[in-house]
Symmetry: C2
Subunit: 208 residues, 2 copies
């Protein structure tokens, strides 16, 4: 039997549906024996490339999205208490995650990402604030001063930018987005289809 | 006990997800004792107003949407055999539906709409062709010549235009879209949430 696919999970800390997906992706992957590669990207950069304005720029759509987010949180039993700063462009958490992965490994980077999502969407904390990110990192045994230096490192900024460009090349035009063996799933609402797709993997392989 | 809500169902014959929703909305409504008001609208007009380009105008997104439509059709067990003319702006079927409703009543208009969706998405027939629409209408006992005259009637064109404007006023920025007592549900993938919302209606009323 062939190996289960790796799930490439593209997300933006600025995206509420990325928060929902981040809560669910690891559980879903574990159920199907997959591992997950977390890719922080910048939705505004993807949007600039496709010409589709981010939802907060479209008042009638944004009003709906806010309502849908609350309804989704309620239906899924997830806490949702938005930061007053929401919505906003977020660069620092994604860069911090890349720096943490390079310096402390994937497990610390992942724990950091999860705590950031929880803080921003569950506890209303503004994660654009570098001091907040330093506090989260310190809780994971990371030197806060080093994190601040890492965030200012041009190499980290460039890595984040390149991650975006690569995502676009792979057809990632929005978030959350999952690529499973090249099969694309866009949106939190497509995770059930991803699950169906993973569940039908043996049949797919046999037919190939 | 208060009456179940009327479902205002906004759709565009040009939208694949409207086809999926049209197949499901009446069954869903019947389950919950609701009636459905069908509102043909023009997605390109809504898009022009919001500044969000229709998906076919965004190549990387459109490639995904085509794949997602096939996957959705397969998952839901619905036929999908696209017309070669797809995607395209469609005015005539929506106008024809309004004219049929005015002249022959809601049941004939609804049967017409269903047959149009089936023809365009299930059988690959181009429903921009007025002769095709005349054939569908003739099958429902409608005089084809009268339909052609109705389509050219400035009052019908104006009614279609006004329907779009009214939809936008109600916050309808995309299709398919359902308003249930003012509660908005956008997208075929939100019909399960609409069902949950309808199922919880007694609890909602009691709490009000």
């Amino acid at each position: 039997m062939s190996r289960p696919p790796v799930l490439d999970f593209y997300f933006d800390f600025a995206s509420g549906y990325s928060y929902f997906a981040a809560q669910r992706i690891e559980k879903l992957a574990a159920l199907h024996g997959c591992s997950v590669r977390w890719h922080p990207v910048m939705l505004t950069a993807l949007s600039a490339s496709t010409g589709v304005p981010p939802s907060p720029m479209v008042p009638v759509k944004w009003q709906y999205v806010l309502r849908d987010m609350q309804r989704t949180a309620q239906a899924e039993g997830m806490p949702l208490s938005l930061s007053r700063a929401f919505p906003q462009v977020l660069l620092a958490p994604g860069r911090a995650m890349l720096w943490l992965r390079a310096e402390y490994g994937s497990a610390v980077a992942l724990a950091f990402a999860r705590t950031c999502f929880q803080a921003y969407y569950g506890d209303g904390v503004d994660i654009a604030d570098v001091a907040v990110l330093q506090g989260i990192a310190a809780g994971l045994g990371v030197d806060p001063e080093c994190l601040a230096e890492g965030l200012a490192d041009p190499a980290i900024k460039e890595a984040f930018r390149q991650g975006n460009a690569l995502a676009l090349q792979r057809g990632v035009f929005g978030v959350p987005f999952v690529l499973a063996d090249g099969e694309p799933f866009w949106g939190y609402d497509r995770l059930p289809q991803l699950e169906q797709w993973l569940a039908s993997a043996p049949a797919r392989k046999a037919a190939a």
